[in-house]
């Protein structure tokens, strides 16, 4: 390009003047102006939607990310103690600290925020929520010396762990939720250390989610490959007909499909009934196929299978059958022709299908929640648990941020390898 432009420039003086449009502006400037206007017009068409998605999607996720490092439940409601922590960065809690604590407990009890304060500290030191609420009820009657008065209420008020948790919570912004989400804890002496093996929850769950998703993607590939191959090689009329069998599950409600599997897999359900009636399984030894990992894998494989078949099919459709025939005529046997000539050409479809199924499986929530029992739960279910049951929203946000990071990495990989523009349905 540069060479052509240069020669253009060089030949221009020979013509004595540059090209101009009818109104006298140089052609180059006029073209640049027109291109700029076209770019602006294209952007203006996209702008409303972009603004909409930023407002209803990007902003909420941004707020969630902020929430994962910010929790002012303690710092906003305990002003005296926060000031004391700021003024005495290193000292052990003395009488003035206890006085500030007593004043704040009374304040918080008055403002009915003592529960919020207790909940915040409870995330770090479990069992302390009731400590705060019961102290709050009696805080107004406390008298100096406050240290003795509070220790009289409960010995726990002297605990160094509690005080270090309160010091950490006196800052509105904390990395503690991420530290906890990675199964680490802050040790006063050694800094950030791993929690004991038997208390690790999130990291094993993360790897279990990855493993289950990989198994599902693997089974989907195993089941999807033959079907896609058959659909791609049959005559158009017949394959269009069979395609309906793939598209109907794709269009059917997720809850409907999950419900069907619950009905089928129950111990009194159809699958077990059939096995019993054929004498494969004894009536009193029905197989437990639901409320465990197997249930999650079976139901999710069924739900995600169309996402494997469709990209595989669209790639296989474009493979000319003459290549395999040529390989055969050159002496390859069936297996060699298939493995060395056909399969390498399907790799883009395999990549697209496996990545798509894997990405979708990693974030699945509904199906594992309904058929997964306790061993079939995935990472999303833990986020939902913190959102709806334990109400530790900052923890939920931190876990969601970690999952989001993993998904965006996969999404980036998908975009690099396949390109999001090439995503199609049906």
């Amino acid at each position: 390009m540069a060479d052509i432009a240069d020669t253009g420039m060089a030949s221009a003086p020979a013509r004595a003047e540059t090209l101009k449009t009818a109104d006298g502006t140089p052609l180059k400037a006029a073209l640049a102006h027109a291109a700029k206007r076209a770019r602006r017009r294209a952007f203006l068409l996209v702008a409303p939607l972009l603004a909409f998605v930023v407002l209803t999607f990007v902003a909420p996720i941004g707020q969630m990310l902020y929430r994962s490092v910010a929790n002012d439940g303690f710092s906003a409601n305990m002003p005296n103690l926060v000031r004391w922590f700021a003024e005495n960065p290193e000292t052990e809690p003395d009488e003035s600290a206890y006085a500030a604590l007593a004043a704040d407990l009374a304040l918080a009890a008055e403002a009915r925020t003592i529960g919020v304060v207790g909940t915040r500290i409870n995330y770090d030191v479990s069992g302390t929520r009731s400590l705060f609420t019961s102290a709050g009820r009696r805080a107004a009657r406390l008298e100096a010396p406050y240290r003795e008065a509070l220790l009289d209420l409960d010995e726990e008020w002297g605990s160094p762990a509690l005080w270090s948790a309160m010091r950490a919570a006196s800052a509105a912004h904390t990395p503690n939720f991420y530290i906890a989400a990675l199964d680490r804890q802050v040790d006063p002496e050694e800094g950030i250390v791993s929690v004991p093996e038997d208390q690790r929850i999130y990291v094993p769950l993360f790897w279990r989610t990855m493993m289950i998703s990989a198994v599902i993607a693997g089974i989907c590939l195993l089941l999807g490959f033959p079907v896609a191959h058959l659909l791609a090689t049959l005559p158009m009329r017949l394959s269009n007909l069979l395609m309906i069998l793939v598209l109907l599950p794709f269009w059917t409600s997720l809850l409907v499909r999950t419900t069907s599997w619950m009905v089928l897999l129950q111990s009194e359900g159809v699958v077990n009934d059939v096995l019993v009636s054929f004498g494969i399984v004894a009536d009193d030894a029905r197989i437990q196929m639901m409320y465990n990992q197997a249930g999650t894998i079976i139901a999710m494989t069924h739900i995600l299978l169309p996402f494997m078949i469709l990209p595989l099919y669209s790639v296989m459709r474009t493979i000319p059958p003459s290549y395999v025939r040529a390989a055969r005529s050159l002496g390859a046997n069936n297996w060699t022709a298939f493995w060395r000539v056909y399969v390498p050409q399907t790799v883009p479809g395999i990549g697209a299908g496996v990545l798509l199924v894997f990405i979708l499986a990693v974030g699945y929530y509904i199906t594992p929640a309904l058929v997964g029992g306790s061993s079939g739960q995935l990472f999303s279910n833990m986020i939902a648990f913190h959102m709806t049951r334990s109400l530790n929203w900052s923890m939920a946000a931190a876990l969601a941020a970690l999952l989001l990071g993993a998904i965006l990495l996969l999404y980036w990989l998908y975009d690099r390898l396949i390109g999001i523009d090439n995503m199609k349905f049906g």
Binding site: R41, P226, L245, W251, E268, Y411, F425
Partner: protein, 303 residues
């Protein structure tokens, strides 16, 4: 690929074996969806075929679960079925209310997603669009980001802005979730679009609005409608966002099903499921017909 006449016995066995394997996989895909249809007519509160059902005894079948769909939540379900009874059902039946909510939310979010999405797809498919790849990635991301993360983010955002527990909140969220589908289907339709038609219109003096409504829209309409149907089904099938940000007033059909499955799973769920399967068959047929029409219009296949 037909079996060649010179195929050996092994090849012949594989040819038929392969078809049997594919048949079994198709069975795996379809059986779970079809099996709930007969089960929803079960006369007993079981999730398996009873003796009477297997012997095709009419007594084994009943419409009681469909009837329960109507009466569940009504004030006076046992009253004689006159106009007042039907008015009661229309007002108070939990499933009818859920269906009304699903349709209101689905239609509103579909209109929003389709209008904004089609406009954006027009811009995105222009060759001069700046930062095309990055913007496309942002617009598609609601489909890729796990729904639980979106719902968590919306929960915080809506509690801060006061949209929680309102129809507007659910509609905006569902529109966002439907947008990727509209973008993908409409840009795919625009790939084969002949831009000389719009230039011809412009050279004959048509304004951009006239060109859009008289030339572009009629040609891309099949793609727009399939995108809209995708957006509708996304909203119609969505439960997690509803679970997190909607109040009791905005219960939709999937939300009601979720309640039913979690609390007391009864064959009534199967009758809803059957209705939804029939609904999806209708939608699929529409999309298929539209796709064929679109291909015929663009001359991609002989039809």
């Amino acid at each position: 690929m037909a079996l060649p006449s010179y195929a050996g016995p092994l090849e012949r066995a594989w040819y038929y074996g392969f078809r049997v394997i594919c048949g079994l996989i198709f069975f795996f895909l379809m059986a779970p969806i079809l099996i709930i249809i007969p089960l929803s007519f079960n006369a007993e509160p079981y999730f398996s075929f009873t003796e009477k059902m297997l012997s095709l005894d009419p007594e084994g079948y009943s419409l009681r679960w469909y009837d329960l769909l109507l009466t569940f939540g009504m004030l006076a379900p046992d009253a004689p079925r006159d106009a007042a009874w039907w008015a009661d059902a229309w007002e108070n039946s939990a499933w009818i209310r859920a269906a009304k909510n699903s349709i209101i939310i689905g239609v509103a979010s579909t209109i929003l997603a389709t209008a904004l999405g089609t406009l954006a797809a027009l811009g995105l498919s222009r060759p001069e669009m700046p930062y095309r790849r990055a913007i496309m990635a942002i617009l598609i991301s609601p489909m890729i980001v796990p729904i639980i993360i979106t719902a968590t983010g919306l929960f915080f955002f809506y509690s801060a802005t006061g949209l929680a527990g309102s129809y507007a909140g659910v509609i905006l969220a569902h529109a966002t979730l439907g947008i990727p589908f509209v973008i993908i289907t409409v840009t795919a339709t625009l790939v084969g679009f002949d831009h000389s038609l719009t230039r011809a219109g412009a050279s004959l003096g048509a304004s951009p609005q006239t060109i859009f409504f008289k030339i572009t829209l009629p040609l891309i309409l099949p793609g727009v409608i399939s995108g809209a149907l995708f957006a509708f089904i996304t909203s119609f099938d969505e439960v997690v966002v509803v679970l997190f940000v909607a109040a009791h007033d905005q219960q939709t059909i999937p939300r009601q099903m979720w309640n039913g499955i979690r609390e007391q799973i009864s064959p009534a769920i199967l009758s809803v499921a059957t209705i939804l399967v029939i609904f999806s068959i209708a939608l699929l047929t529409t999309v298929e017909l539209l796709r064929r029409r679109s291909e015929r219009l663009r001359g991609l296949s002989p039809g």
